[in-house]
């Protein structure tokens, strides 16, 4: 299936990446190529095959005790933010 410009525009919006008009064209072409190539998977009969999401899927994942193990490190968390104010991250106004 080929990926058209409007599809690229829609997924770019979903991915929250601004893409210029001329790049939409290039990306539509590149993604079409990649999608066309991965579609060879249709040749494989996967009827009744369970999807595999992890190589450790047969292992029961550990659960830790429900206790506080970390925290009290506000300055560490804010350390790399480009804009902070009184211990908060700063974002553009969201509520009118």
């Amino acid at each position: 299936m080929s990926v058209d410009k409007s599809t690229v525009s829609r997924i770019a919006q979903l991915a929250r990446i601004k893409v210029s008009e001329e790049d939409l064209e290039v990306l539509a072409d590149e993604l079409s190529k990649i999608v066309g190539w991965v579609e060879q998977l249709d040749e494989v009969n996967t009827e009744g095959v369970p999807p595999m999401s992890s190589t450790v899927e047969n292992i029961i994942l550990r659960q830790r005790d429900d206790v506080v193990t970390d925290g009290d490190c506000k300055s560490d968390i804010l350390e790399n933010a480009s804009q902070t104010d009184r211990g908060y991250f700063v974002v553009p106004k969201v509520i009118e």
Partner: protein, 490 residues
């Protein structure tokens, strides 16, 4: 005496223990090399002052008989590992200037064991690439050149800086990470050993995430024994990574020097992939003969869905990447671009911060996960992954290890594959299947092409059977006795 930068990890440990040289002397020798060959662009951040401090502290510990397993060894760390107080960039503009307030578990383990960190090595942006050309900090130059021309070659990727640094003797060893071949492919291109452990052996905590069901850290070294020594320190259960394994860890180095008599080595006919360099196929045949001469039995096996591993990977890895990289919002860390609304801040930040390959993979991943396409692409790829994994399991009922080439070609020149998106992806065709199945794999330098470039062979074993992996790799290394080295000029 041999130059200090020519020593293997094992030889350096020996020399330090006997007091033939200090960690400070060993570190100074490597810092000089690092400076001399800065043109390779193997490092994004060099930390020579810190290294010398660490080396002096190490020498003091040794004087007090408090030595760790990697005491005083100068080692380079791929810039995908977060290192406390030292810039950690993932080779992205997005993380330029990011200074973590914490240390990854793997580098923490290595520090506790006494390493001296020389610096952070270059890589493809967010580990997405096979040539190190997608780095925001510029491409790495392979220390090797063809006999026929002087063009600079790529070191492979994504751990290209680490492989080049080890090959050029700028460090004794380096860490890498491998999602679809990012340790094994650059190791093959740079004539060094690259080992990807079983998924879960090394903690992913503090490693910048690419595709979490595939990402795995491992060593890049000049010998198989060195890989065993370094992995011993990197590996281990970590409660901060839920997929970190509690399977007991053997003494990897004890597997070196054992014989392989009676082992069954699988040779999968599907790895004779169209377009593979004939010299590599010959080397593979030679590899089979070497292992047979050492007493192993070669068994032809079939892994019929091998050719579908790469397209499945290029759905699964971008899907996971699109989810993992959603964290770069411009607000909490990393680059921030301005915008009138919150959505605009996100969109402008991500447009400015991600390079073209990363953007392409995020969009591909978003596409295959989006409504209407999820079943056709993502779910389909996960089912194919299951089949590939089962094929390996069936093969390992019959054989103890599998021998294949590492990469279908030798290193290529910069920009040689710029217009060939899918051609670039094909670099990983022989490493991706084991990645999808979570199996350990190692690339061992086994010969030179007629044009003077190193070529590697790959060994794959069952999950958590690094024992057999190291045994066979050691025998392969002894048989190949690869002693060629790059002709480095300043």
């Amino acid at each position: 005496m041999t130059e200090l930068t020519d020593l293997t990890v094992a030889e350096a440990q020996d020399g330090l223990a006997k007091g033939e040289f200090s960690s400070k002397e060993l570190t100074e020798a490597h810092i000089l090399s690092m400076e001399k060959f800065r043109g390779l662009n193997a490092f994004i951040t060099e930390t020579p002052e810190r290294a010398l401090e660490d080396a002096e502290a190490s020498d003091k510990r040794r004087a007090n008989n408090e030595t760790g397993p990697l005491e005083g060894l100068p080692i380079a760390i791929k810039d995908l590992f977060c290192t406390k107080g030292i810039q950690s960039t993932a080779s992205s503009k997005m993380l330029k200037g990011f200074i973590p307030t914490y240390e990854s578990t793997v580098t923490s383990n290595m520090k506790a064991d006494g390493i001296v960190m020389l610096g952070k090595t270059n890589l493809d942006e967010f580990a997405m690439g096979s040539s190190n050309e997608t780095s925001y900090f510029g491409p790495v130059v392979n220390p090797w050149k063809r006999l026929s021309d002087e063009r600079p070659l790529v070191p492979g990727g994504s751990s290209g800086g680490s492989a080049a640094a080890v090959g050029a003797r700028l460090c004794l060893a380096a860490t890498g990470t491998d999602t679809g071949g990012s340790i094994r492919q650059p190791a093959a291109f740079c004539g060094v050993v690259g080992m990807k452990p079983t998924y879960g052996r090394c903690s992913r905590w503090g490693v910048v995430a690419f595709a979490s069901s595939l990402d795995q850290a491992g060593p890049i070294t000049r010998t198989v024994r060195d890989a065993a020594i370094i992995l011993q320190s990197m590996a281990g259960l970590d409660l901060k990574d839920t997929t970190s394994s509690d399977v007991p860890i053997p003494n990897f180095q004890s597997l070196i020097g054992q014989d392989i008599k009676g082992l069954k080595i699988g040779v999968p006919r599907e790895y004779k992939i169209d377009g593979t360099d004939p010299e590599i196929l010959d080397l593979w045949e030679q590899g089979i003969r070497w292992l047979k001469d050492a007493g192993a039995e070669a068994v032809e096996i079939s892994l019929p869905r091998t050719k579908y591993a790469l397209p499945a990977y290029y759905i699964i890895a971008p899907a996971e990447a699109s989810s993992n990289l959603a964290r770069y919002d411009g607000l909490r860390y990393g680059l921030r671009a301005e915008g009138k609304s919150l959505a605009e801040v996100y969109e402008n930040t991500r447009a400015a911060g991600f390079g073209s390959e990363v953007r392409r993979r995020i969009l591909m991943g978003t596409y295959v996960l989006s409504a209407g396409y999820y079943d056709a692409y993502y779910l389909k790829a996960q089912k194919v992954r299951k089949l590939i994994s089962e094929e390996f399991a069936t093969a390992f009922e019959q054989v103890d290890a599998i021998l294949t080439p590492s990469v279908p070609s030798a290193a290529f020149a910069h920009e040689e594959k710029d217009d060939d998106l899918l051609g670039m992806y094909l670099n990983d065709v022989m490493t991706v299947p084991a990645s999808l199945a979570g199996l350990p794999g190692i690339s061992v330098p086994a010969g030179l092409s007629s044009d003077g470039l190193p070529l590697g062979l790959q060994i794959i074993t069952k999950a958590f059977d690094e024992e057999t992996l190291f045994r066979v790799a050691d025998v392969l290394e002894q048989s190949a006795s690869f002693e060629a080295r790059p002709d480095l000029r300043v």
